[in-house]
């Protein structure tokens, strides 16, 4: 009778498919988002979706009249929204995880931040937080369960085109 082990050849090699009833952790890598089981990190450059349809000539300058983009003057440490208007970042919630809260890290001013959700196959939107100030951790109500197609949208509406600096955001997750 053979020994009940899949370490058939060496201590380091398991032969064949492995079923694990619990979680998988490998060094610092965990199940979750890019090896992170605690939160989804959102870089400032992820805020690439604009609410503006057409904006006034608010970005005048030498050689240009309109740029509806985000821009950085500190090598990406922060971004500014020259045309104002709300900017959005979106993140799929990993399967097996639930998004429970979030925070937008930005200049402490009257800019408004909000978290909503939708799915990639519909135009429905659910709101999970009221409008909050930057740097405020806000709990999601209801929480957002990761089913593979559901994503959270983070919105940031700056009050200033020049002094409102967006540094990034976080969506906190827990195992479902």
């Amino acid at each position: 009778m053979g020994y009940k082990s899949k370490f058939n050849e060496t201590h380091n090699t398991l032969v064949g498919e492995i079923n694990i009833s619990g979680s998988l952790t490998a060094g610092a890598w965990e199940e979750g988002y890019l090896g992170n089981g605690e939160f989804i990190e959102i870089c400032p450059a992820d805020f690439c979706l604009s609410s503006l349809l057409v904006s006034p000539n608010a970005q005048g300058g030498t050689g240009r009249t309109h740029i509806e983009l985000i821009w950085t003057n500190d090598n990406g440490g922060t971004v500014r929204i020259p045309a104002l208007g709300t900017r959005y970042a979106q993140k799929i919630i990993p399967k097996g995880f639930t998004a429970t809260s979030g925070i937008v890290n930005a200049t402490a001013d009257a800019s408004a931040c909000r978290f909503t959700s939708s799915t990639v196959d519909s135009d429905d939107t659910d709101t999970h937080t009221p409008g909050t100030a930057p740097n405020t951790l806000v709990a999601f109500s209801p929480t957002v369960v990761g089913d593979g197609i559901t994503y959270v949208t983070v919105s940031y509406a700056p009050v200033s085109a020049t002094t409102s600096l967006l540094a990034g955001a976080q969506i906190f997750i827990e195992k479902t």
Binding site: L14, E68, K91, K95, T176
Partner: protein, 182 residues
């Protein structure tokens, strides 16, 4: 002596480990893309690569970007139909996870006569290969299409999904690239 690395308890395995087959977890999270071994989901905001190189007014009136009318549930391409050079299309790019292959995809949205295309490429090369019908043969939005060839994830192979709206009110909901373990 027993060949095992469970030195202290039944839960912790010490040192490097190679598994010749797949890892299957009992929970919802699985190896693949963000815990999903069936498909890669793309949010509307990921379609941020513009097919237009210039419009006549050079953005003095039109926005060349994607916009959302509903807090991110959908995206639109406001500059569709304004002319200029390039193509009325927005594209998203996704690396195929290693150990998986991409076999098909679908782009979700609404609006009359909107189409989508899939192409594959690699970080090391400057050309793309069509994986679905293109131009007039491209699949309609909401139709799933199989790729002409399976795109195996080697760490640098990626899929380009191109959404082709017909007018500025066409809506993009998102997309899925279906994957399966190699």
């Amino acid at each position: 002596m027993t060949k095992t690395k469970f030195h202290n308890n039944f839960s912790d395995v010490y040192g490097e480990m190679t598994i010749t087959g797949s890892i299957i977890l009992s929970g919802d999270w699985q190896p693949g893309y963000l815990g999903n071994n069936e498909f890669i989901s793309l949010c509307p905001s990921e379609f941020n690569l513009n097919g237009q190189s210039a419009t006549p007014s050079e953005q003095t009136a039109e926005i060349e970007l994607i916009s959302t009318p509903d807090n991110g549930a959908t995206a639109t391409m406001p500059s569709v139909g304004v002319g200029g050079s390039g193509e009325d299309a927005l594209s998203a790019i996704k690396i195929i996870p290693k150990g998986f292959k991409a076999t098909s995809a679908v782009v979700h949205g609404s609006g009359s006569a909107c189409r989508w295309e899939a192409h594959s490429s690699n970080l090391d090369i400057g050309t793309a290969v069509a994986q679905t019908g293109i131009d007039g043969s491209a699949p309609d939005v909401e139709d799933t299409a199989s790729f002409d060839s399976e795109v195996v994830g080697d760490g640098s192979n990626y899929i380009v999904l191109k959404w082709r709206p017909r007018n500025p009110t066409s809506l993009l909901f998102g997309a899925q690239i279906f994957i399966t373990p190699v």
